[in-house]
C-alpha cells in the first residue's frame, strides 16, 4: 500500500470524523482524515465546547452576584470580556491539541485541506495538493449556520455563532433570532453578563423541540431574568445604522420595531454538501443533507455520510456514534446496532439548563400511546434547596401499557449531567419497575429522577 492509499478516508475532522477515524484505526484499518480548517470541527472550536466555557463564566458571575444569599460577601464584582473570551479560546485550543494527539497516537494520517471526491475511491486534497485512494470514503463535513435572506450575518452588526463567541464589545442591547439551543445559550450568556436581551422565535414557544411544559417553564424563567421573548414572530427587516440595528418584527399581525446594538442570527443550520464532488455520484442530497440508510451508506457504493451532514438531530454525540457504527459495519463486525434516534439525548446549557431524551408528552400521545406522566419539582428536593437551585422540574413520560420509558424532560441546575441516567435506562429498555427499584443516592438532585417515576404511578414520596 502506498502512502496515499487507505482503507478508509474520512473527509472532515469534527466529532463525527475524528471519532470514526480513531475507531477505524483501532479495528486495524489504515485511515486518513482530511480536514480543511481545524481538527475537532465546529463542536470543539466554535460550538459545544467554547460556548460551555463562556456559559461557565456567566454562571460563576451569576453566583458571585448572589454571594449574599449564601452568607458570603463579595465586592467589586465584574468581568473582563476579553479574558472571558480568551479563556474560552484556550479551552478549545487545549482540546484541539488533544484531538491531534489522539489521531497521531492511533496512527491516523491527517491531511490539511479541502477534501473532495474525485472518482471512484479517489479523494483530492486542496487544489490537487494530494491524491488519495480509499476503499471506503466517509463524508463528515458537518454543517454551518443558515443565512436567511435579509438576515445574513455580516460579522459586525449581525453576528453568527462565530462572532457571538468572540465578542469585541459587550452589546448593551441584543436581539437573538431563533430560540433553539444555540440561540438560547447565547441569549442566556449575554443576559447573565448584563445585556438587555430580546429573543424572537417563529414558533409559538421557546426551545420548540422540547416538551411544551419545559418550554413554558423555561420561558417564565428567562423572563424573570429580564429577557424579552416574542414568539410566533418573524423578523421582517433589519435597518442597519452606524453602531445599531433597528429590527422590524411581526407578531400576531402587528409589527413592532426594536433597536439593538447587535443581532445574533441562530435560525438553524445547513449541511456542507458543496465542493464535495458529489455531482457525478449516486449520492442523494435532500434539503442540504445527504440521504443515508441505517448503516450510513449513501446511494454511492463505498461512500458514507455521518453527523450533521447526514441530517438531524444536529448533535456532536450523534455524529460520533454514527461514525463508530459506520466503520464497525465496514470492518465487518457482526455486533453493530443501528442508532435508535429516540435514545439520543439533547442538552441546552442555558440558565436554567434543559435536557431531554425520547418523546415529549404531546409526541407520545400523537403516536397513539396512552401515557402516564410524572413530574417532580426542584422545590421538593433537599439537595436542590441546599444548593440554592430550587427552580426546575423533572418530567417523565411512560407508556401506560408496557411501562416503557418513552421520554424524560428536565429543566434546572445540572440536568445536563443527570439526563444520562434516563438515557441508560432507555437504552437498556427498562420499565418503570426497575427505575422504582433503583436506589438513588441521598442527597442528590438525581433523587428527583426517582420521584418523577414514582409520581407517574401516583406515589411520589416527597411532593
Amino acid at each position: 500500500m502506498s502512502d496515499n492509499t487507505f482503507d478508509i478516508i474520512v473527509i472532515g475532522g469534527g466529532p463525527g470524523g475524528y471519532v470514526a477515524a480513531i475507531r477505524a484505526s483501532q479495528l486495524g484499518l489504515k485511515t486518513a482524515v482530511v480536514e480543511r480548517e481545524h481538527l475537532g470541527g465546529i463542536c470543539l472550536n466554535w460550538g459545544c465546547i467554547p460556548t460551555k466555557a463562556l456559559l461557565r463564566s456567566a454562571e460563576v458571575y451569576r453566583n458571585m452576584q448572589h454571594a449574599g444569599s449564601y452568607g458570603l460577601s463579595a465586592s467589586g464584582i465584574g468581568f473582563d470580556l476579553a479574558k472571558v473570551v480568551a479563556r474560552s479560546r484556550g479551552v478549545s485550543a487545549q482540546l484541539q491539541a488533544g484531538v491531534k494527539h489522539l489521531l497521531k497516537k492511533n496512527k491516523v494520517t491527517v491531511f490539511e485541506g479541502q477534501g473532495r471526491l474525485a472518482g471512484k475511491g479517489k479523494v483530492t486534497v486542496g487544489d490537487g495538493k494530494a491524491q488519495l485512494s480509499g476503499k471506503h470514503i466517509i463524508l463528515a463535513t458537518g454543517a454551518r449556520a443558515r443565512n436567511l435572506p435579509g438576515l445574513e450575518a455580516d460579522g459586525k452588526l449581525v453576528w453568527s455563532y462565530k462572532e457571538a463567541m468572540v465578542p469585541d464589545v459587550m452589546p448593551k442591547r441584543l436581539l437573538v433570532i431563533g430560540s433553539g439551543a444555540i440561540g438560547i445559550e447565547f441569549a442566556s450568556f449575554y443576559n447573565a453578563l448584563g445585556s438587555d436581551v430580546t429573543v424572537v422565535e417563529v414558533m409559538e414557544r421557546v426551545l420548540p423541540v422540547e416538551d411544551e411544559e419545559i418550554s413554558a417553564f423555561a420561558r417564565k424563567s428567562f423572563e424573570k431574568q429580564g429577557m424579552k421573548i416574542i414568539t410566533g414572530a418573524s423578523v421582517k427587516s433589519l435597518a442597519k445604522g452606524k453602531d445599531e440595528v433597528t429590527v422590524t418584527i411581526e407578531a400576531a399581525g402587528k409589527t413592532q420595531e426594536v433597536t439593538v446594538d447587535r443581532v445574533i442570527s441562530a435560525v438553524g443550520i445547513v449541511g456542507n454538501v458543496e465542493n464535495l464532488g458529489l455531482e457525478n455520484t449516486k449520492v442523494v442530497v435532500e434539503k442540504t443533507h445527504v440521504v443515508v440508510n441505517q448503516w450510513l451508506e449513501t446511494g454511492e457504493p463505498g461512500v458514507y455520510a455521518i453527523g450533521d451532514l447526514a441530517g438531524a438531530p444536529w448533535l456532536a454525540h450523534k455524529a460520533s456514534h454514527e461514525g463508530v457504527i459506520c466503520v464497525e459495519k465496514i470492518a465487518g463486525r457482526n455486533d453493530v446496532h443501528p442508532l435508535n434516534i429516540r435514545n439520543i439525548p439533547g442538552c441546552t446549557y442555558c440558565h436554567p439548563q434543559v435536557a431531554s431524551v425520547g418523546l415529549t408528552e404531546a409526541k407520545a400521545k400523537e403516536k397513539g400511546y396512552q401515557v402516564k406522566v410524572g413530574r417532580f419539582p426542584f422545590m421538593g428536593n433537599g439537595k436542590a434547596i441546599a444548593l440554592g437551585e430550587t427552580e426546575g422540574m423533572v418530567k417523565t413520560v411512560f407508556d401506560a401499557k408496557t411501562g416503557e420509558l418513552l421520554g424524560a424532560h428536565m429543566i434546572g441546575a445540572e440536568v445536563t449531567e443527570l439526563i444520562q441516567g434516563y438515557m441508560v435506562a432507555k437504552t437498556l429498555e427498562t420499565t418503570e419497575v426497575e427505575l422504582m427499584h433503583a436506589v438513588f443516592p441521598h442527597p442528590t438532585l438525581s433523587e428527583m429522577m426517582h420521584e418523577s417515576v414514582l409520581d407517574a404511578y401516583g406515589h411520589a414520596i416527597h411532593f
Binding site: D335, H337, T402, G403, E404, L428, E429, T430, T431, E434
Partner: protein
C-alpha cells in the same frame, strides 16, 4: 469441591420438571443408587437415583419447586473430607463447572440428552421491557432469538416473535396472575387449579393434533357373542389371568396391524414412517389425566401375557410411576370407554401416530341375521385416521381385519 447434583433429563424431550419432594435431607449420607428425590415430569413421577457417594450438603431447589430446568443445579453433594465450608465455592464456579456436570449427575434412567435450545440453567438475557412484553403476549423467551448486544433479547425481538396460539396464557416460570374475580356478583363462582405439567402436555399435544392433523373417521360394528363366550371359557380355566374384552381388542389390533402394516405408520415432513414393530399404546385414565402406556411387540404376545402386562402398566400409570420408555413411542393407540357405557365416540389422534381406535361398549342390540331380527352383543369401534398417512381404503381394510378377528376370536389364538 462439592459435586453439583443437576436436574436430570428423565426423558429425551424433557426440558424442565417439577421437584416433587426430596427423600434425603441435608446432612444425610448418600450412596450410589440411593433415591434422592422424586421428580415430576410432564408424564410421570420418577425416582432420581444418586450416582455418587457422599453427604447431601445443601439442597438448592426445595420440595414442590415447579418448572426446574434440566441441568440446573438442585443440590450439592459433599465428598469425603469436605465440610459445609466448601459449599460456597461451587456456586461461584458454576459457569466453569457446568459443561462437565451433566455426566456426573445423569442417572441410569436418564439419557443425558439435552435439547440445545434450552441448555438448562442458562440465564435468558432480555431487557426488562422485552420480558414484560413477552409475559403479556405469552411469548416464551427461551424460543426467541436476541438481536441485541451479545444476543440480548430486546423489544423488537419479542414483537417479531410469533405469538402462541392461545393469547394471554402465562409462560411457565412467570408468576401466574392470580385469578381475580373481576365482577364477582355477576359471573359464576369458580376456583382455579394450576395446570400440572401433564395437563399442559395433554393440552398442547391434543390441540396440535386436532388443529394440524386432517382427521377422518370410520366406524364399524363388531358382533361380540363368540368373543364373550371364548372369554368366559378361558377365564374359567385359570387363575393366573383374567381376560377383559379390552385384552382381546389389543390382541386383535396387533394382529390386524400385522395384516395391514400401512396402518402402523406416522407422517413426517419428508416420508411416511412405517413401523417395523407392532407397539400398541393404550389410553389409561389417571387422576392427573390421560396417559398412554405402550405394549411392545403386542403381536408376539398371547392374551394372558397381554392382559397381565396391561394390568401392571395401568397400575403404574395411576400411581404416576411409569418410566419414560413405558409410555413413549408406540405406533397405534387404543382408547376404550366401553366400561362407561359409551356406545361410540371419535378420539383425537395421538401424534405422531397415524391412527387411534375408539372402542365403545359391548351391548345387546337388535340385529338382522339371515333376514330375521335377532339379538346380538355388538360393539362399535371408530377409527380416527390421519389422512396424510392412511387413506380411507387402508383404514377400512384395517377395520375389516380387526372385525374378522373380533368376531372369530379363535383365529386370534392361532
Amino acid at each position: 469441591m462439592p459435586i453439583q447434583i443437576l436436574m436430570p433429563a428423565l426423558s429425551p424431550t424433557m426440558s424442565e420438571g417439577n421437584l416433587a419432594r426430596w427423600l434425603k435431607k441435608e446432612g444425610d449420607p448418600v450412596k450410589s443408587g440411593d433415591i434422592l428425590a422424586e421428580i415430576e415430569t410432564d408424564k410421570a413421577t420418577m425416582e432420581f437415583e444418586a450416582t455418587d457417594e457422599g453427604t447431601l450438603g445443601k439442597i438448592l431447589v426445595p420440595d414442590g419447586s415447579q418448572g426446574v430446568k434440566v441441568n440446573q443445579p438442585i443440590a450439592l453433594l459433599l465428598e469425603e473430607g469436605e465440610d459445609a465450608a466448601s459449599l460456597a465455592a461451587p456456586l461461584a464456579a458454576k459457569a466453569a463447572l457446568a459443561p462437565a456436570a451433566p455426566a456426573v449427575a445423569a442417572s441410569a434412567a436418564a439419557p443425558p440428552v439435552v435439547p440445545p435450545a434450552v441448555s438448562a440453567g442458562d440465564r435468558v438475557f432480555a431487557s426488562p421491557l422485552a420480558r414484560r412484553l413477552a409475559r403479556e403476549a405469552g411469548v416464551d423467551l427461551t424460543s426467541v432469538k436476541g438481536s441485541g448486544p451479545h444476543g440480548r433479547i430486546v423489544r423488537a425481538d419479542v414483537e417479531k416473535a410469533p405469538s402462541p396460539p392461545k393469547a394471554a396464557s402465562p409462560t411457565p416460570g412467570a408468576p401466574a396472575p392470580k385469578p381475580v374475580p373481576a365482577v364477582p356478583d355477576i359471573g359464576p363462582a369458580y376456583t382455579e387449579q394450576p395446570l400440572s405439567s401433564m395437563r399442559k402436555v395433554i393440552a398442547r399435544r391434543l390441540t396440535e393434533a386436532k388443529q394440524t392433523v386432517p382427521h377422518f373417521y370410520l366406524t364399524i360394528d363388531c358382533r361380540l357373542d363368540k368373543l364373550m363366550a371364548l372369554r368366559a371359557d378361558l377365564n374359567g380355566r385359570g387363575d393366573d389371568y383374567k381376560l377383559s374384552v379390552n385384552d382381546f381388542v389389543i390382541r386383535a389390533v396387533a394382529l390386524a396391524l400385522r395384516k395391514v402394516p400401512a396402518a402402523n405408520a406416522s407422517f413426517t415432513e419428508t416420508a411416511i414412517r412405517l413401523y417395523s414393530e407392532v407397539d400398541v399404546s393404550v389410553a389409561v385414565a389417571t387422576p392427573n389425566g390421560l396417559i398412554t402406556p405402550v405394549i411392545r411387540h403386542a403381536d408376539h404376545k398371547g392374551l394372558a401375557a397381554l392382559s397381565n402386562e396391561m394390568k401392571s402398566l395401568a397400575g403404574k400409570a395411576r400411581d404416576g410411576k411409569l418410566k419414560p420408555e413405558e409410555y413413549q413411542g408406540g405406533g397405534f393407540t387404543i382408547s376404550n370407554l366401553g366400561m362407561y357405557g359409551i356406545r361410540e365416540f371419535s378420539a383425537i389422534i395421538n401424534p405422531p401416530q397415524g391412527c387411534i381406535l375408539a372402542v365403545g361398549a359391548g351391548e345387546q342390540r337388535p340385529v338382522v341375521v339371515d333376514g330375521a331380527l335377532a339379538v346380538a352383543t355388538m360393539m362399535s369401534c371408530t377409527l380416527s385416521v390421519d389422512h396424510r398417512v392412511v387413506d380411507g381404503a387402508i383404514g377400512a381394510e384395517f377395520l375389516a381385519a380387526f372385525k374378522k378377528l373380533i368376531e372369530e376370536p379363535l383365529t386370534m389364538l392361532l
